[in-house]
């Protein structure tokens, strides 16, 4: 096996992507835990986590650009590095949205909830699973797993509808619920978008394996 230095650099890229994936998962988990427990300290940790995600994105971007410059990759190597460059943009957006949820949780920390949070934590759990599995699929070149992630977005979308319907009912029962309901629907929408970003990641993973990007519209 030649190009051992290049292979070591690709291994580093894998490790950094796993790390960035773990940081985004932590940001989602902390922001939802902060929301559930109305815990401002956890919310601030989630926001700090988002800054780590941004930092790791810059480091991965630098590594990818260096690899493109120095190694002039082709074929599978080119697909892998270009997919990594696209994936980190989606992971960075996930970090932003987790931080946005943390901001809302700080805002809601002092008032009782109009309803026990049920579907929102489930949505968070589902999105964390999608992010984890999309990164796993990348590292293990697992096309079937990448496609499972794409399909799993339906679960997140279903939960979003459930949250929306609950909140509509609560506003119908008492219009005073509307103020908090708007915040909660924002949280659910952020989670729904996180699911879309995980789908994007999985589609780039599939591209890095097959050479074909079979996604429809991407989340922005």
């Amino acid at each position: 096996m030649m190009r051992t230095r290049f292979d070591r650099q690709l291994e580093t890229l894998n490790t950094m992507l796993i790390e960035m994936g773990a940081q985004t998962e932590r940001a989602i988990a902390l922001s939802i835990q902060a929301l559930k427990e109305q815990n401002v300290k956890l919310a601030r940790q989630a926001i700090a986590c988002e800054r780590e995600v941004d930092q790791t994105e810059k480091e991965i971007e630098t590594l990818c650009l260096r690899l493109l410059l120095q190694q002039q990759p082709v074929a599978g190597d080119l697909r892998l590095i270009s997919a990594a460059l696209k994936m980190i943009t989606d992971m960075e957006r996930i970090g932003d949205q987790a931080a946005d949820i943390a901001e809302i949780s700080i805002h809601l920390s002092q008032e009782p909830y109009i309803k026990k949070l049920e579907h929102i934590p489930q949505m968070a759990q589902a999105t964390v699973k999608m992010v984890t599995e999309s990164i796993d699929a990348f590292v293990h070149r697992d096309l079937a797993l990448a496609r499972e992630v794409v399909d799993y977005d339906d679960v997140v979308d279903g939960l979003f509808d459930a949250v929306k319907n609950d909140l509509i009912a609560l506003i119908g029962a008492d219009s005073a619920n509307g103020i908090q309901a708007i915040d909660l629907i924002m949280v659910a929408k952020y989670l729904e978008r996180i699911g879309d970003h995980a789908v994007n990641i999985a589609q780039w993973v599939a591209f890095s394996i097959t050479g074909t990007h079979d996604g429809g519209e991407e989340a922005d």
């Binding site: 030649m2 190009r3 082709v74 074929a75 050479g211």
Partner: protein, 249 residues
């Protein structure tokens, strides 16, 4: 339309089988790149297109290579073949004579005597090879006074002067600096509309930049042949992927 049509081409240097049952078509109006590790047979195959291997002792070829539907190994007119199929080598090899005489050499060999016609042919060839502006005021100067990159373009002009149909290029930029290389690459892209170009290169990026089709050879076999974009983005054969990504061995 295919310019070269190869069917089961095998070639031996004495007992050594350098090419093994190569079957492929090379289309006109396109640049075809031959890639592969040293000794894989790509230059040998290139030289078979204008019977340069005939000069090698112990060389035997079987199968058929057709140029415009005619088997080139059944036609005794080798000079006629080499007029139709020009060649440019790795190292610029201008003759030790003037720039003008280098370019006029081919047409003169083929019987052109008129000064007026020769002047026109020389200017056209130098223009086509993108070296006219640099040489027009020094046509009587020695070709050896030109830089390496200019010499290589002069050699291309010399090949073009006999108005060939195909141009074979064996690593034409491997001895040149990046600026001269990009000039030759630009030239190849311009020439492909009028000539069928086959280029042997060890530079993978060059193959991706200038060729329409790429053929990967290994140990005398044609392993993969397809559109360059496909070969370099999604090669079908593992050996091809290993080679182009630098993991061959």
């Amino acid at each position: 339309m295919e310019k070269f049509r190869l069917r089961d081409v095998s070639l031996w240097y004495n007992d050594f089988k350098a090419l093994k049952d190569i079957t492929m078509d090379i289309v006109s109006g396109e640049v075809t790149a031959f890639i592969g590790p040293s000794g894989c047979g790509k230059s040998t195959l290139l030289k078979s297109f204008n019977r340069m291997n005939d000069l090698v002792e112990g060389c035997k070829i079987t199968g058929s290579i057709q140029l415009d539907g005619q088997d080139i190994y059944k036609d005794p007119n080798i000079n006629g073949l080499r007029k139709r199929v020009g060649m440019v080598f790795q190292k610029p090899n201008p003759f030790p004579m003037s720039i003008y005489d280098n370019v006029a050499f081919g047409p003169r060999t083929h019987g052109v005597k008129s000064r007026l016609v020769l002047d026109e042919l020389v200017e056209k060839a130098l223009r086509d090879a993108a070296v006219w502006e640099e040489t027009k005021d020094r046509l009587k100067k020695s070709a050896l006074s030109l830089s390496g990159g200019q010499q290589q373009r002069l050699c291309i002009a010399r090949a073009l002067a006999v108005e060939p149909q195909a141009l074979l290029m064996d690593e034409p930029t491997s001895a040149l600096d990046p600026i001269s290389t990009s000039k030759i690459e630009e030239l190849v892209t311009q020439l492909k509309e009028r000539y069928t170009i086959v280029i042997v290169t060890h530079n993978m990026q060059q193959a991706t930049r200038i060729s329409d089709k790429t053929a990967f050879f290994l140990l005398g076999e044609l392993v993969e042949y397809g559109k360059t974009e496909q070969v370099f983005s999604l090669p079908r054969d593992k050996r091809c992927e290993d080679y182009i990504t630098g993991r061959f061995g």
